[in-house]
């Protein structure tokens, strides 16, 4: 049966992260990867995702500064590479996806986690990162026709940019193949985004379920 990581491991990771100790964080990630029965998914969900949520909480309650939060994000994204030799195994994937952040969206770490988890689930996933220009995304999608296009939005105030991206995007790909998600949709009740009809998936688990990849 799969169990959570020992609390002491997580606490050690979080305190090293907040102290900016990259090397120690890297050591803990490698140590967890070497534990029997553990894999990249545990790292993404139980170290990366959990610590980012906790750090966000610390910032919102004024216990850490914006600078510390940005430092934590930068360290975390750098640590993704530790899992890459396991993530990109060179196997031929049947399905393809592209994950991007809309213009003005400078928070990419959540979308990056989603892209890597899809890759881990066997979907060949291209990650375009923060502030992806709409025209670049549209022409890429028109040419490659991926099975899934995922757009990430962290702040609801950027909904106009999302809509401005969706309009030309849906001229080259069917709405059924497009999903939107991210922190901006956490409190969202509607299953689809009007008037485009694209699905709103609020969690990574929902997206994984949608694609039928390992959960």
């Amino acid at each position: 049966m799969h169990t959570s990581l020992p609390e002491a491991v997580y606490a050690g990771y979080l305190s090293s992260l907040l102290a900016g100790e990259r090397a120690e964080c890297r050591r803990i990630v490698s140590e967890v990867l070497a534990m029997p029965g553990r894999g990249p998914r545990d790292i993404y969900l139980e170290l990366f995702q959990r610590s980012l949520y906790d750090v966000g909480q610390l910032w919102e309650t004024n216990q850490i500064s914006v600078a510390t939060e940005h430092m934590v994000t930068a360290i975390t994204e750098g640590l993704f590479a530790v899992t890459y030799p396991l993530l990109f195994s060179g196997r031929t994937a049947q399905r393809t996806a592209v994950i991007a952040c809309v213009p003005c969206e400078s928070h990419q770490v959540g979308a990056h986690i989603v892209a890597d988890l899809l890759e881990l689930g066997g979907v060949r996933t291209t990650f375009m990162g923060a502030n992806t220009p709409a025209d670049a995304l549209v022409s890429w999608v028109a040419e490659r026709q991926p099975d899934l296009v995922g757009l990430s939005l962290s702040i609801e105030a950027h909904l106009p940019e999302l809509r401005a991206t969706l309009a030309p995007l849906l001229r080259v790909v069917a709405a059924e193949r497009v999903v939107v998600g991210g922190r901006a949709f956490l409190g969202w009740r509607e299953p689809r985004l009007a008037p485009f009809g694209v699905r709103v998936l609020r969690t990574v688990a929902a997206l994984e379920q949608e694609l039928g990849v390992a959960a």
Binding site: A67, H70, T73, A81, Y84, G90, S106, H112, M128, A130
Partner: protein, 379 residues
């Protein structure tokens, strides 16, 4: 609610500036020496800042401070921070009589711009790192497909070549009593070409097996000196045909190694074959075994044309050929690449030491089975 008296506020503000604020506050005398420094300035510039002259504190690359002094008003200045990079502050400068007061604040807008660029660079790097790993995985997959194709193609091509060899040999045998030597020469050329194609295909099959990880080593405990001596004997006819002296020189000891003898023979055969091919008539090739630091080292020394540093660097790559041309025969360009992979598969290493016009020494080292068992043999 009691009102804060203006005097009280001024006192609090002054105390805050002197003890708690992150704004630097410095008072200089007429000579430009620090008379007073608040806590922020002492934290940043060191407790000993009081008494120091301004040139020890402020950077003045263009000499404008030295020429004109601290002119009143707003000015961007950089301070020397002990043990770290200099920091720039936006200073507000006030002159009163011979004294100068400086109040410096970090440029927050600049810091924010810097943080924003750092963040974008980090994000770009993260996306590119991901892409790099993906491409590497793709390349590994393509390489595996290439090896599989190479293996299949080489394997399938060997069968018709075996037939051609057999029929060519039969033709030579049957026709030799009745055919002119010039016609027979054509058949000998066919036979030699087919043999060369077979060698090339064997090489490709080896590369494919090694790179795809399907190479199986049948390890046995052997005496490396014996194996090398036997290979040297087998090369004597070739050496004699090329008019090259082939010498075997090893310390008479048993060098026990756990190896696949066929594969290590292949390595020695390649090194000896190359040495003979590249050594001009009248030259010398010497092969020997010695032990050093728990390893058995086989070396093949020739008096051939030698290799440039560039050739030495690329020689062990597949299809790499040296600029020098062999005196005798031809090379497939795979032999040394295969030799290196075979030696590596045994946990050993292979190298070359050479200089143009001097000759080359090709050597490889294999771990000795165990020190106790490699006992000296009687002379």
């Amino acid at each position: 609610m009691s009102e804060v008296q203006p005097e009280e506020f001024d006192r609090s503000a002054s105390e805050y500036l002197l003890k708690r604020s992150s704004t630097l506050a410095l008072l200089l005398d007429g000579e430009g020496r620090v008379l007073r420094a608040n806590q922020a300035a002492r934290n940043l510039l060191g407790e000993s800042v009081v008494g120091r002259g301004w040139p020890e504190i402020f950077l003045d690359f263009d000499g404008s401070l030295a020429r004109r002094g601290f002119e009143p008003g707003a000015r961007l200045l950089s301070v020397v921070v002990p043990g770290r990079d200099p920091l720039s502050f936006r200073f507000w400068i006030v002159r009163e009589a011979e004294h100068t007061a400086l109040f410096g604040e970090p440029d927050y807008a600049e810091s924010m711009r810097w943080a924003s660029v750092a963040r974008e660079v980090t994000q770009d790097l993260s996306v590119l790192t991901r892409e790099l790993h993906r491409k590497n995985a793709d390349l590994a997959e393509l390489n595996a497909a290439k090896n599989a194709l190479l293996g299949m193609a080489a394997h399938d091509l060997r069968n018709p070549l075996t037939v051609i060899t057999a029929y060519t040999e039969a033709l030579i045998e049957e026709l030799s009593p009745f055919t002119r030597p010039s016609t027979l020469d054509l058949l000998f050329t066919v036979e030699a070409s087919v043999k060369r194609m077979q060698e090339l295909l064997d090489g490709l099959l080896d590369v494919s097996a090694i790179e795809s990880g399907t190479l199986k080593l049948n390890r046995l405990r052997c005496d490396l000196r014996e194996l090398v001596a036997e290979e040297a004997r087998l090369h004597e006819p070739l050496a004699s045909r090329y008019h090259v002296a082939l010498r075997s020189r090893s310390v008479p000891k048993c060098y026990l190694v756990e190896i696949d003898p066929c594969r290590i023979r292949q390595v020695v055969d390649n090194l000896l074959g190359n040495a003979l091919k590249y050594t001009p008539p009248g030259g010398c090739v010497e092969v020997g075994v010695r032990d050093e630091g728990g390893e058995a080292i086989v070396s093949v020394v020739d008096t051939g044309p030698g290799l440039s540093p560039q050739d030495q660097a690329r020689l062990f790559r597949p299809y790499a050929r040296a600029d020098v041309v062999p005196t005798h025969g031809r090379s497939t360009g795979l032999g040394l690449a295969i030799a290196r992979k075979l030696v590596s598969a045994h946990g050993g290493r292979i190298w070359v030491e050479s200089a143009p016009s001097v000759g080359s020494t090709f050597a490889f080292a294999l771990p000795l089975a165990s020190a106790e068992e490699s006992k000296s043999l009687p002379h």
